[in-house]
C-alpha cells in the first residue's frame, strides 16, 4: 500500500541557508508520529513542506505515490499553533468549524442543512457542541484546541497535521488533547504532530521522528529516546529513565540546580501541619 505522504531526499533552502537536508519520511495509513527537535531544527518548515506551503529546494514529496496538484494535498487537514490565531477575529465556533468544509462548499454564503449537521456532529464528537454560537475569544485553551481540531475533522481528512497542539495549555489539558488524538488514531486517523514535550510524546505517540536539519533517528519512543540520539538532536546532555513502564526524559542540569546556587533556600511555610513532607506542593510562599 502506498504511503499517505512520502518525502524522498527532500531539502529546503531559505536564500543561502540550508534549513532541511536529506529528509526521508514515509507515513502510512493509521500511523501516529511526533516530530521532535530543538527550536530552529526545521520542524515547522518540514510541516509547511508537507502541507504544500513551501516547495522543496530538492527531492520529491508524494501523496499516495503521486505528485500533489498545485501544491495542495486534499487528504490532509492542518491544525495550526494556537499562537498564530487572531482571537479577536469576528467569528463563532460554528463558523470556524464550517471553514473545514470549504473544499466541498456550496457557492452560497450560507451553510446547507447537511453542512450544519456535519459541523454539529463533529462538535458533539469533541464534546463542545454547547460552544457552537460562542465567539472564539471566549474559549479556554483546551476548548480552542478542540475547535481547531473540529475544523480539521469536519473536512474528513485521511491525515491530520498538528503544529505543537500542546503548547500554551496546562498539563491536564495537554494530556486530554493527546488522549483525544490517540483515540482518533485508534479509529484509523493518520496523525503527524510537532511537539517540544518529549515526555508526552513518549507516553502517547508510538512513532517518533527526531529532527535537527536532517532526520537524526525515527522509530518507537524506546528505540529513539536514548541519551545518544537525544544528544545528537538537541546538542544537550539528556537523562532517560524507565519508571513504572513510562519513559521519562529530562535535561541534566549542568551543576546549576538551585541546590548548587542557594545552599539554604527559604522554602516557605507548611499550610497543612499534617503535611510534613516538604516535597508536597502545599507552601504559601516559595521565595528564592
Amino acid at each position: 500500500m502506498q504511503p499517505i505522504i512520502e518525502l524522498r531526499n527532500v531539502g529546503l533552502r531559505y536564500a543561502e541557508r540550508l534549513v532541511l537536508d536529506q529528509i526521508n519520511i514515509h507515513l502510512h495509513h493509521g500511523q501516529f508520529a511526533a516530530l521532535v527537535g530543538p527550536s530552529g531544527a526545521g520542524k515547522t518548515s518540514l510541516l509547511r513542506l508537507i502541507l504544500g506551503l513551501h516547495a522543496p529546494s530538492h527531492g520529491q514529496i508524494l501523496t499516495h505515490g503521486k505528485h500533489p496538484v498545485d501544491g495542495q494535498i486534499p487528504t490532509i487537514a492542518y491544525v495550526p499553533q494556537l499562537e498564530t490565531v487572531d482571537w479577536n477575529f469576528p467569528v463563532t465556533v460554528e463558523q470556524v468549524v464550517a471553514m473545514g468544509l470549504v473544499r466541498q462548499a456550496n457557492p452560497w454564503p450560507w451553510l446547507r442543512k447537511s453542512e450544519r449537521q456535519a459541523v454539529q456532529a463533529v462538535l458533539a464528537q469533541l464534546e463542545i457542541e454547547h460552544l457552537a454560537k460562542q465567539h472564539i475569544r471566549n474559549l479556554s485553551g483546551g476548548q480552542q484546541q478542540r475547535v481547531f481540531l473540529a475544523r480539521a475533522l469536519v473536512a474528513k481528512p485521511a491525515m491530520l497535521v498538528l503544529d505543537e497542539p500542546t503548547t500554551g495549555i496546562d498539563p491536564r489539558l495537554a494530556e486530554s488533547i493527546l488522549h483525544l488524538l490517540a483515540e482518533l488514531n485508534q479509529q484509523g486517523m493518520t496523525i503527524l504532530m510537532t511537539t517540544h514535550d518529549l515526555n508526552a510524546a513518549a507516553a502517547h505517540v508510538p512513532w517518533i521522528i527526531c529532527l535537527n536539519q536532517t532526520i537524526i533517528a525515527q522509530g518507537t519512543p524506546e528505540a529513539v529516546f536514548t541519551p545518544a540520539v537525544l544528544e545528537q538532536t538537541y546538542h544537550s546532555d539528556m537523562v532517560v529513565v524507565q519508571h513504572e513502564g513510562m519513559l521519562l526524559i529530562q535535561q541534566r542540569p549542568h551543576g546549576h540546580s538551585y541546590r548548587d546556587l542557594i545552599p539554604n533556600p527559604i522554602i516557605g511555610e507548611v499550610l497543612n501541619p499534617a503535611m510534613e513532607n516538604p516535597s508536597e506542593p502545599a507552601f504559601r510562599t516559595a521565595e528564592l
Binding site: P90, V91, P107, R137
Partner: protein
C-alpha cells in the same frame, strides 16, 4: 421634509448623492476585508499610486479608467510580490511603490502645468462633477465586487482569517489574492473622482472599524459596515449641501462621528457587562 427634497431637484445633487451612497457602501464592504487582513495602509498607499497612473494616462491620452486601473493593479501586484519575495515588509513595500508612483504624478504635473487644475478633483474629490459615465463605472464595480463577495464568501472569510491554513484546506489563495487586488484597484479608481486620493483611505477604514465595535459576527460586520458607508455617504452629502462644505470631507467627518458614537456604545456595553458580572458575583 421639503427641505430634504429640495436638493434632489438639482441633477448634480442627485448624481452626487447616488455616487456617494454607492461609493460609501462599496468602500464599507471591501474595507471589512482590508481591516481584518491588517491592510489598512494599502488603501491609502494605492490611492496615491493610482493618482500617478491617472496623470500618466492623461499625458498619454489614454482612457482614465483603463490607464489608472492598469497602473493601480500593477502597483498592487508589485507590492504583493515585493513583500513576498524579498526581505522588505509589506508596509515598507507599500511606502516605496506608492510614493514613487505618486511622485511620478506630481513630477508630470509640474512638467505640464497646463492641466494642474483638473487634478485638484483627483486629489480632493469633486462629487458634484459626477457624470453619467462615472455612475455607470461605479455601478459596474459595485456589481462586480458584490458578486465576488457573495459567491466567494466562504473562501474570502477563510483567507482573511488565516491565509496559509486556507490554502491547505483547498482555497486557491493566490488566485483570490489577485482578484482581491483587482477589486481594490477598481474600487479606488471609481472612488478617486468622488472622494479624492486623500480621503479614500478613511472611507475604507472607518465604516468597518465602526462595525467591528458593534458586532462580533463577521457577516453582521459586513452588513453594518456597508450600511454605515452608504448612510454616511447620504447624510454627508446633505450636510455638505446645507452647510456649504466640501462633500468628500463632510462624508468622512460624518463617518468619524459614527465611529465616535460606536466607541461610546462599546464602552457603555463593556461597563454594563462588568457591572452585571459584579452583581452576579
Amino acid at each position: 421634509m421639503n427641505q430634504l427634497l429640495e436638493p434632489l431637484s438639482f441633477s448634480f445633487f442627485r448624481y452626487g448623492i447616488l455616487a456617494a451612497v454607492l461609493i460609501g457602501s462599496l468602500c464599507g464592504l471591501l474595507g471589512v476585508y482590508i481591516v481584518l487582513r491588517g491592510m489598512s495602509y494599502i488603501g491609502h498607499g494605492l490611492s496615491h499610486a493610482i493618482f500617478g497612473g491617472a496623470v500618466v494616462s492623461f499625458v498619454l491620452a489614454w482612457n482614465f479608467y483603463l490607464g489608472a486601473g492598469l497602473w493601480g493593479f500593477a502597483a498592487a501586484v508589485l507590492i504583493n510580490q515585493t513583500a513576498r519575495r524579498t526581505k522588505i515588509n509589506a508596509d515598507a513595500a507599500i511606502g516605496i511603490v506608492t510614493t514613487a508612483s505618486f511622485a511620478i504624478g506630481v513630477a508630470l504635473i509640474s512638467r505640464y502645468r497646463n492641466f494642474t487644475r483638473s487634478f485638484d478633483a483627483a486629489l480632493f474629490g469633486n462629487i458634484l462633477g459626477v457624470t453619467n459615465s462615472d455612475l455607470w463605472a461605479i455601478g459596474g464595480v459595485c456589481i462586480m465586487v458584490g458578486l465576488v463577495v457573495f459567491f466567494s464568501y466562504k473562501q474570502l472569510l477563510f483567507m482573511t482569517f488565516n491565509n496559509d491554513v486556507a490554502h491547505v484546506y483547498g482555497v486557491r489563495t493566490n488566485w483570490l489574492d489577485t482578484l482581491f487586488s483587482l477589486m481594490l484597484a477598481a474600487t479606488l479608481i471609481v472612488s478617486m473622482k468622488i472622494l479624492g486620493v486623500t480621503l479614500i483611505a478613511a472611507a475604507l477604514v472607518i465604516p468597518p472599524i465602526t462595525a467591528r465595535l458593534l458586532t462580533d459576527s463577521f457577516h453582521r460586520m459586513l452588513g453594518i459596515s456597508t450600511v454605515i458607508g452608504g448612510l454616511t455617504g447620504c447624510v454627508g452629502m446633505y450636510l455638505s449641501y446645507f452647510f456649504d462644505l466640501a462633500s468628500g470631507a463632510t462624508i468622512v467627518l460624518t463617518q468619524t462621528g459614527c465611529f465616535m458614537v460606536a466607541l461610546g456604545i462599546a464602552a457603555l456595553r463593556k461597563q454594563l457587562r462588568s457591572r452585571m458580572i459584579h452583581t452576579h458575583v
